[in-house]
Structures are given as C-alpha cells and as structure tokens.
C-alpha cells in the first residue's frame, strides 16, 4: 500500500486567514474553533486547483456559506 503525503492544508495562508476571520465573527462561539477549522480545510481541499491569488476569497466564501447553513 502506498501512502501519498499531501501538503498540510493548515500551512496554507488562505486557510489561516479564513479561520482567523471566521473565528472573529459569530462562528467562533456558535460552532467552535475545531468545527470552523475543519470546514475551512475541507473547503480548501475542494478548491485545490483554483488560482492562488483567488484562494483566500474563494475559501472564505465557501466556508462561511457552509458554516452559515449548518448553524442556521
């Protein structure tokens, strides 16, 4: 069995920025830091292949939409 080591998405600036901003909003208390981190990392994985310059905006938008849906 071969294991492919993917780069840790948490190293990505787009993830760090999105997590920081979403935690500063109501999602930090409503969903909790672990859930926010997980949602953001998932969004980042699904958006792999998008232009690097656009990633911060795309990741944050998608994560915010998913958090908003789950919280409400």
């Amino acid at each position: 069995m071969t294991t492919v080591l993917a780069p840790r998405s948490s190293d990505d600036e787009s993830v760090e920025q999105a997590v920081a901003r979403l935690l500063a909003e109501e999602y930090g208390t409503l969903a909790g830091p672990q859930v926010v981190m997980g949602v953001v990392q998932n969004a980042r994985r699904e958006l792999a292949g998008s232009p690097v310059g656009a990633l911060p905006e795309l990741v944050e938008r998608l994560a915010r939409y998913r958090l908003h849906t789950s919280v409400s």
Partner: protein, 539 residues
C-alpha cells in the same frame, strides 16, 4: 509563425453585383503586406472575409498563428464600451470566452451565493488562469501605461468614448502588437494618428516579426513599412512582391501585359472566326472540305469555351481640372494677425502661384485660420486682406457641411450656391463622370464614402472658378490614386494654394511651410515640420 492564404474567394453584394471574383493571394510568415485599392474596391470586405466576419460565396481562407483584428471603426467609438471590454474584445477567442464565463459566474453569485454558484465561480477563475488570463492582464497593464500613461486598474472602467481617436487607435495597436496573435489584420491603423503617432506605428510595424496585412491610404506609411502590396482591383487581387516605391511601375507594367494578352486573344479569335467562315464557303463547293470545316468549328468552340484572359482593370477616371486664373502678385497679406486664444500675432505674405502647406499639431488653430481666409466668422485681431482678383475656394473637412447631407450630388450641382452658378443635369453628369462619381449622381451626399465626398468637394472647387484654394486635409480620405490625381491637378492649377495637412507625402509637393507651433508661435520653415508637440489648453 503565421500566414494567411486566400484561395479563389468570391463574394457577391446583397444587390447581386459580384464584388470579388477568384481572389487568391498569400501573406507569408513575417511579411508586412499592404492592401490597396480605390475607395469601394472591396478591401474592408476582404479583411472581414479573412477574419471570419463574412462568409464568401466561394473559395477558402486558411491561416495559422492566431488572428488579431483592428477594425476600421476604432478611433470613432462613441458608445459606452469600457477600456476593459475593448481590450477583452481584442484578446484571443479562448481568453474572451474564459472572461465571459467569469463574468457570468460573478453575476450568478450576486443572484444567489450558494455552493454551486461558488464552485462555478472557482472553476471559471481556474479556467481564466489556464488560458493565460492573468498573464494577459499583466500585458493589458503594460498596454494602458504605454498608450494612456495609466495602469490598467486605473482606467479599466473608463469609457472608450472619453479617449481621443488617436488614443483609441494607439490602445488597440499596443494591445495587438504586444499580444500573442501572430497574424494581424489592421484596417486603416493610421487614421486619427498625428505624425509622431504615425512614425511610432511605422517603427513598431518594421520591428514586429508578426505577419501583418494592413489597409492604408498614407503613402509615407506604405513606402516605409510594406514589403509587398496586395492590390484589389477589377474584382480580383494581385500581389506586387516589392516595396511601394516600385509599385506604380509594376502596376503599369501589369496593366500593359494584360492588355497585350487580351489583344492577342482577340486577334487569334478573329483569325479562327475568319477561317471558319472561309471553310464554310469551301465546304459548300467541296464535300472534302466539310470534315475540315467541322474540325475548325470544334477548334473555335474550344477556344471560346476557354475564354479570354482577364481584361485590364478600368483606370480610375478621376480627372480633376482646377483651372484658376491670374490674380494680383500679392494674394494674401496678414499683419499682426491673431486668432483669439489660439496663436500669437504673426505676419504673412503669400504671392501668386505659391504653394503653402500649413503644418502643426491638432488644436493649434490651423483650420480656424483657413476658415477666416474663406470669409467665415472667426474671432481675431490684427488685419488681413486678399489681393486683386483673388477668389477663395474652401475645401472643408467633410463633416463641416451638414446642409449637404440630405441632398443628392446632381441637386447640389443644379442649384449652385453664392459664388458658384448652377449647371444643368447634362453638364453635372459629365463633370461627375470625370471624377468617377457618375453612378453616385442621384445618391445623397451622406451616403458617399469619405473618399467620394472629398472628390465631390474638389469638383465644386473646380466649378467655383476659385483662384486661391484653401484646402483643409484634402487627402485624408482619398485613396492613393485619387490623392495622386489631386496632386497633379494642383500642379497644373493656375493660382495659389494654401493647405492644412498631416499627409507627409502630400506636404512635400509644396514649396512653403507655415508651422503653427505648440507654444502658439507661427513661423515659416524651409522644410516640412511634423514633430510639433500637441497643444495643451485648459478646457
């Protein structure tokens, strides 16, 4: 690497007339070919067929290397197109499609910011990156800085209509010359450019390694840039493989060769017809001759079926006869003349027979000066007067005659105007024929091409009996042959000529050069001066 190969193209106008028949030529890799022909010969139609805007009735067009097209209307865009949209429309098709997809995804997100819309937007951005969209944006930044002196982000939402005609042309040319397309079709790229702008264009086209096919009436540009000349005439096209300097001789030689071939064909045809007639008589008297008679009939039929070689294209019949007349020695005297707010006071004396070119950048007051001499109301101080027997005749830029737009040419000639008596229909048509305008006699002035309007204005000058010609950019819209005809007519004109022009080739036929400088000073130069800076005025 890019080339254009046009093979056997045929195109019919909506009214059934065949405009192009069996047009074939090739513009090879790295060539810079000029497309010339008289007004209305089909140059723009041919460019539109090559670019794929029009579908020919027959024949084919092959090309490689990506195609960039600059259309004729650029320079006169007056709608709400933005700089961004303009640059996108000049980009390769893949980039245009990717941009449209990004815009559509952005709009969809505004309507509903759900997960599918966001993923579609991410995909569209990914595709934009894949087709090189981000690199294209860097190029656009270089282009806007070069053409307008502003970064792309600072002008992308600016309306194109707020740019001058020269700026619009420069923007398009910078974009195409720096872009990835290896084949460029440029329809009158020099229109709206001042002389420094034209010189810049010449240098860029000479430096460029792209394959270029361009339409221009500027003989200086043609002479400096074109390494071959494609001529559209008589419904067909042919290629002169040399530069523009050797083109007139090559064209004359070709026409003579065509006339000779046609003459020989006609002579051989007549010989065969005569033979058939003789043998027909002989066959009546001698049955032995019947077989030979039928053989000769077959030979004649085959000869006629093969058809004659193409006849030489009809010469463009533009015969301008500006007669003039003897006037006093001193034709014009200006003393401390100043057009209010336009230039500083200056003195000028023009004598009978002088050919004075008025040069300088746009906005310097040259056209106002001519209008003043033509007797129009122009604010000024200082004095000026015309000499004995001087009758001014004014050729204005074509948009300066709104009162002519809805009248036919025959009507304008029939009624005359102050200083120009009317003429009957017969004489009007005869005069129109000399200017190649007989078919347009009953058309409205507004429906004529720019070149036809210019020719008609020269015709009116001829009829007015002017002895002092005041010409404002007379060659601007004239095709090469008409411009040469005007030069010949001016050469034979018995009188004085004062002309405003940016046409370097035309200006060299003059013997005095009055320059309206950028700083408002007016001075006479021994040689043509074309690099006066643009006049800056607070508006």
């Amino acid at each position: 690497m890019g080339y254009v190969d046009v093979a056997g193209v045929r195109f019919t106008l909506p009214d059934g007339r065949v405009l192009l028949e069996d047009v074939s030529f090739r513009v090879g890799d790295g060539a810079c070919a000029a497309l010339v022909g008289e007004n209305g010969a089909g140059k723009t139609t041919l460019l539109r067929i090559i670019s794929g805007d029009l579908t020919p009735d027959g024949g084919s067009v092959a090309r490689t290397g990506g195609l960039g097209v600059m259309r004729q209307f650029i320079g006169s865009v007056r709608d709400d197109t933005t700089v961004q949209r303009f640059l996108i429309d000049l980009a390769p098709p893949a980039v245009r499609e990717a941009w449209d997809a990004v815009e559509a995804a952005e709009l969809a997100m505004m309507e509903g910011d759900d997960e599918p819309a966001q993923m579609a937007y991410a995909n569209a951005l990914g595709h934009w990156g894949d087709v090189g969209g981000y690199d294209v944006e860097v190029t656009w930044d270089t282009v806007t800085v070069a053409a307008l002196g502003v970064p792309y982000d600072g002008c992308k939402y600016r309306e194109l209509a707020s740019l001058s005609g020269g700026e619009q042309k420069r923007l398009a040319l910078e974009c195409l010359l720096r872009g990835p397309d290896q084949v460029l079709l440029l329809d009158e790229p020099d229109n709206y450019l001042d002389v420094p702008g034209k010189r810049w264009l010449e240098e860029r086209l000479i430096e460029s390694r792209k394959t270029v096919l361009f339409v221009s009436h500027d003989r200086e540009l043609l002479a400096r840039v074109a390494d071959r000349v494609v001529t559209v005439e008589g419904g067909g096209a042919w290629v002169h493989g040399g530069d523009f300097a050797s083109y007139p001789a090559a064209r004359t030689a070709r026409h003579e060769r065509m006339a000779e071939l046609r003459k020989r064909w006609d002579e051989e045809h007549q010989r065969l017809v005569d033979l058939v007639r003789t043998m027909q008589q002989q066959a009546k008297n001698s049955p032995d001759m019947a077989a030979r008679y039928h053989a000769m009939q077959t030979r004649l039929a085959k000869y006629e079926a093969a058809g004659p070689p193409p006849d030489r294209p009809p010469d463009q019949h533009v015969a301008m006869r500006l007669r003039g007349g003897r006037t006093g020695v001193r034709v014009l005297v200006a003393e401390q003349l100043e057009l209010t707010g336009l230039m500083k006071p200056f003195d000028l004396e023009v004598d009978y027979g002088d050919r004075v070119a008025v040069l300088g950048s746009n906005g310097a007051g040259k056209s106002h000066f001519l209008r003043l001499l033509a007797g129009q109301d122009v604010a000024h101080t200082g004095g000026w007067r015309l000499g004995a027997r001087v009758v001014p005749g004014f050729f204005a830029q074509t948009h300066a005659h709104p009162e002519w737009l809805d009248r036919s040419l025959v009507d304008l000639l029939w009624h005359g105007e102050p200083g120009r008596p009317g003429v009957d229909r017969g004489r009007a048509m005869a005069t129109l024929r000399r200017y190649g305008l007989a078919p347009q006699g009953d058309q409205l002035f507004r429906s004529l091409s720019g070149g036809q309007q210019a020719r008609f204005q020269v015709l009116l000058l001829e009829l007015s009996g002017a002895t002092l010609l005041l010409l404002d950019e007379p060659t601007d819209n004239l095709d090469v042959l008409s411009a040469e005809s005007l030069e010949e007519a001016l050469g034979a004109f018995d009188g004085t000529v004062v002309a405003v022009t940016h046409d370097r080739w035309f200006a060299r036929t003059f013997d005095r050069f009055l320059v309206f400088g950028a700083g408002g000073q007016v001075y006479e130069a021994p040689e043509p001066v074309f690099d006066e800076a643009r006049v800056q005025r607070t508006r």
